[in-house]
Subunit: 476 residues, 3 copies
């Protein structure tokens, strides 16, 4: 799809963005209506400006293709950082890195190293260049790097950690490619499964009692948690929403979570809304299932639901009201699953990672239904939610048109058929009259009517043929 | 398939049923033979009566289609309750609910709620109406409802339990649909996998130490069980067979198990026989693997084997002697697997559920072999064992007929070929005679025999051609 | 493929074998060159001799087909024993059994019983005869038999153990067949997955605290291992390489490992080299991940890497430098995975078996890449590495030839096209001259040039047509 076409497509979508942002401008609305031309032009210019850095920044990506390789690589790494949230946008990636630095320098460094080496490994393994450029080989790398640093018990700036970090990051494209071979049979994405597999692999291979790479100690619960509803802290509960979004990258700083929300909003408001919704659902589920308040405040109930809600709510399904409800259901299911997986994994000293999100989202993407309101996009057509909606609407329009076209054709055919019938009937009558006339004059064609009754369909031709035959005969 | 045809098909099968039931009538057999006409009519009438409530009660299902919606829903719920044992029969479902009520009111209520909401959820999700009407979306629901009540540590009539019960029941069609997307690639059913997944999910998500929904405490074995063969109680061992069948629904009351056996017998005697066989196999396996007697008496070694034996023995394979042996092998394998899975799951405080059945039956359904005595029915053609057999026999007959037809055709072709050869030979002879005669008269065709030896196949045509050529030449 | 063709193919490969073996003969090399004819003949004879017992011994297999059934069965059992290492060679199998006897009589007996009954079970289940004859149904059996004896806590010569041994061995083809149904969708082998599943099943079903079949006690690590780098024993570390190869069959005797190396070398030197390489990689990984020295000396870090290196390095991929590097990467990944799986399995009292090998090799076989240097052989074409290489080279040659052919054809077509154009041009000129001449003489064809300009392509025909038309007209 040419870029110029793409930016045009973006503009109607950005109108929505415009409305949300410029709420304060609404007061001037009546005045604006008075000067429509000038304003429309300004709005168009503004939307065009927005389209340059929102969505998937396709114009920028095209411009990047002609740049220096290291600059390209940086673009891919930034896109990889944002792809954790399904966002294909280098600006969002940059803001996310800012959030990570705010949280912890060492973690941010590990995340960067992970993304970098995952992308390089994908290049070495000759994976699809388009997928690499979209950051699809980097997002597992950043999570592997980050979470290996987060769960390391050796403290910050333990430089040896970079060795397994680089090895595991470089294994990401291998595992991604292998899982894609399996999941593609059902047209499913691999999500963060490679990250889950590789981080769990590293943690359980070394464990808490390892001299080189010790992990933090995680143990299963063996007594009732101390929960008294009077002790609940509403401020912390409210804060748990951005913290839950931050926990996607293993960050517990609410400001970092807030920065992530901004980075999502830049690329796709729908994604952003579902992220906040998901985190809220996770928090509510935690309360419903009597989770210790500490875990809820820490965002552990939120991050999987955030990802699940984004994935179902507009990313892999076209967003309709039915799909929105499905996304909410998936969020609750994911929270339930999150608690279950966390309890199981703790038996091996492992965190839940994003297994709950992967499993619940895959389950909800595998559903088949007889309604056409729940439309799963073909994996090759998945983009950001707004563009997916465009694709869906276009498809629906086309379908409608095709239906109308078909109906029109049917009607035409019916008309034609009736007309043809009429013509045939007329011809028949004419022919009968003719033959009656001929019968009266000549007696040599007495056998003709019988032949004609057998050849009714080609009867029209016979009328013209007969005379010529006769003339020929006469000529000879 | 029209209903009238169906009931006709059932009659030869029901003869078997007839024989088993009316053993006491056998004494009158000689008398019966004396009055064959009257008796045949009575028998036919009896069989027709039986066909109305045995098998899948297809006549009733057809009648139901025109009834009030709530009545239909009740039919689907009852069929769902029986589908746990692969029985598509509302009467069996009703009897099973009677058995459950005999066991425990609260459990029965939870089971009913589970089936109801699973069916409703399937309707909301717009799943296939035929599958819903056959109860295929309800059987996971009843198990989820029942087992959540059975394993709850909060005691009976803890009304809050209905909340997760309803949520999990409503997730059943989601998980069923997702699993079906995967399993359908190998033409496999989903069995009770959704139930296994959802109940384990609920139990491990909450666990024993939960304020809202505590589960019973299950722990792995860490010492030798106290087994002395003198202490074995043969009566209890014998009772473990019906108890094992009852444990399919989590019931330990032998009377409930007995009622379940009756409900199976109504629908399909083959299913019933394999259920009893399976439970016996499980009990024997328990003894062989030195299980604590308590677990065997409690039916924990039986229920998986019951289901596995039913599934393999006639339900998804057409019942032959080879398949019967396969079902027995599957039973033993399932018992082994049951012990293994119970030990693994206990590490997480979980029961084995019906994982062993699902995994062993799926394994045995995935086998490929070069013998045609083990015939796996296409999933769309699976019905109850007796009807499956009918399908298999019909198919075999057709194959035989086709073979005979082919052989007949081959023979005919051979005959034709030999006849043609004879005709050709005759023609050849005639031609030779002709040419000999011509040789005597004319000398200008001296080179012809050489050309003929090269063109033997088209020799017949040459005979007619040559003279015309000559005549043409003569004409010129 | 006819045998004579096969043995011819083997000879160039065996040259390599020859060079390696007969290093001491190199001194005579200059003399050899002086008498080339005589030596070549001797060499050819030697290679032919080698080809009889190296590779897959196809000549022997063909000869076997006409022998007594029990002798055939023995051949299949021996091939099954060697197939654990992907070697389809009865001589290697015999040597491996010798190694097992050297290790432990009882284990060897159990291994033999396992292979035998697995093969018999495959015959009963009517599995593919070719696969049975290649030992593909036996190798899981030998591992099941051996490892059940190795991990039994009942001591040697506990004859009851043969019962579960026979049952589990006979289940091997069932599980193999079922897994093959799944894996074949991705053209993947089942590796030793049936063995892993069945041995784990037996061990966890009985466990350490079982009266009939107690297992050795395996527990997870709960404290730091005592590792001081001064204590490292280099001799033992060096010995761990053959011990690692021996551990594929559960043997810790370095001599047994050495015998296994010989048996590999007989069939395929590439396999042998990768086995040693794999064991070394495993040992290094153990040191890197701070494993207790005892486990490394015992070969527990080696055996999975041995199998993974063999599988990737030439067996299922055609051996190129890129694939060789991939095999090394897979080895390291496998070691990591081995540690992880061992830690997880120990929570259930289970050993790691060969799960790490299976999972890592399957992952690396599922990779898709855009380079043609990493060529995965179709499963039906997999043989031993040397023959795989032959297949790969042949295919490449064919591709090259096809390319050349295509290019040649293209060139020819271009030549033809240009020639045709030339002819057309010449004709056109001729025609123009002709028409000019005709114009001068006759005036009746004045309209022709216009028609010609429209029909340039068929102009050549017109030239010949026109005169004939004219002549005809003239004739008439």
């Amino acid at each position: 799809m040419p870029e110029s076409h793409l930016t045009k497509e973006l503009q109607p979508l950005m109108a929505q963005l415009d409305l949300k942002r410029d709420n304060d401008k609404q007061a001037e609305a009546p005045v604006q209506k008075a000067q429509p031309k000038c304003l429309q032009r300004a709005k168009a210019r503004f939307l065009k400006g927005v389209s340059y850095f929102s969505g998937d920044m396709a114009v920028f990506a095209k411009w990047m293709e002609k740049q220096f390789f290291l600059l390209q690589l940086l673009d891919w790494v930034l896109r990889g950082a944002a792809q954790v949230m399904f966002v294909n946008n280098p600006l969002s990636g940059l803001i996310i890195f800012a959030g990570l630095i705010l949280q912890n320098y060492w973690w941010a460094l590990n995340g960067f190293v992970g993304t970098l080496f995952a992308t390089i490994s994908a290049l070495i393994l000759r994976q699809n260049r388009g997928a690499i450029a979209a950051g699809l080989y980097g997002y597992n790398g950043i999570l592997v790097g980050l979470l290996m640093a987060v769960f390391s018990n050796a403290g910050n700036w333990y430089w040896w950690l970079l060795l397994p970090n680089i090895f595991m990051s470089m294994m990401c494209p291998v595992v991604s490619s292998a899982l894609a071979s399996i999941n593609s049979r059902w047209d499913l994405p691999v999500f963060t499964l490679p990250f889950n597999i590789l981080v769990c692999l590293h943690m359980v291979a070394t464990g808490h009692y390892n001299h080189h790479f010790p992990q933090v100690l995680i143990q299963p619960r063996t007594e009732f948690p101390n929960i008294t509803w009077e002790e609940i802290d509403l401020a912390k509960l409210f804060m748990s929403v951005p913290v839950g979004i931050g926990q996607v990258y293993g960050c517990d700083n609410p400001w970092t979570g807030g920065i992530f929300i901004v980075s999502l909003f830049i690329s796709s408001p729908i994604t952003c809304a579902h992220a906040v919704l998901g985190s809220t659902i996770g928090m509510l589920s935690g309360l419903a299932l009597a989770a210790p308040f500490g875990a809820i405040y820490f965002g552990l109930w939120g991050y999987n639901c955030v990802l699940a809600c984004i994935a179902i709510g507009g990313m892999f399904y076209a967003l309709t009201w039915q799909v929105h409800l499905l996304a909410i259901t998936c969020g609750f299911f994911c929270a339930y699953l999150g608690s279950a997986i966390a309890n199981i994994m703790s038996a091996f000293g492992l965190p839940a990672c994003t297994w709950p999100f992967c499993l619940s989202a895959l389950t909800f993407l595998l559903i088949t239904t007889e309604t056409n309101k729940i439309f799963k996009l073909p994996l090759a057509k998945v983009n950001y939610p707004e563009k997916n909606l465009c694709f869906y609407w276009k498809m629906k329009k086309q379908e409608k048109q095709e239906k109308l076209e078909e109906e029109r054709k049917k009607k035409e055919e019916q008309q034609k058929a009736s007309e043809e019938e009429m013509i045939l009937n007329e011809k028949e009558e004419l022919r009968l009259n003719l033959s009656a006339m001929e019968e009266g004059n000549i007696t040599q064609i007495l056998t003709a009517p019988e032949a004609e009754s057998e050849q009714r369909d080609t009867g029209g031709e016979r009328i013209t043929e007969d005379p010529t035959d006769e003339t020929n005969a006469n000529c000879v």
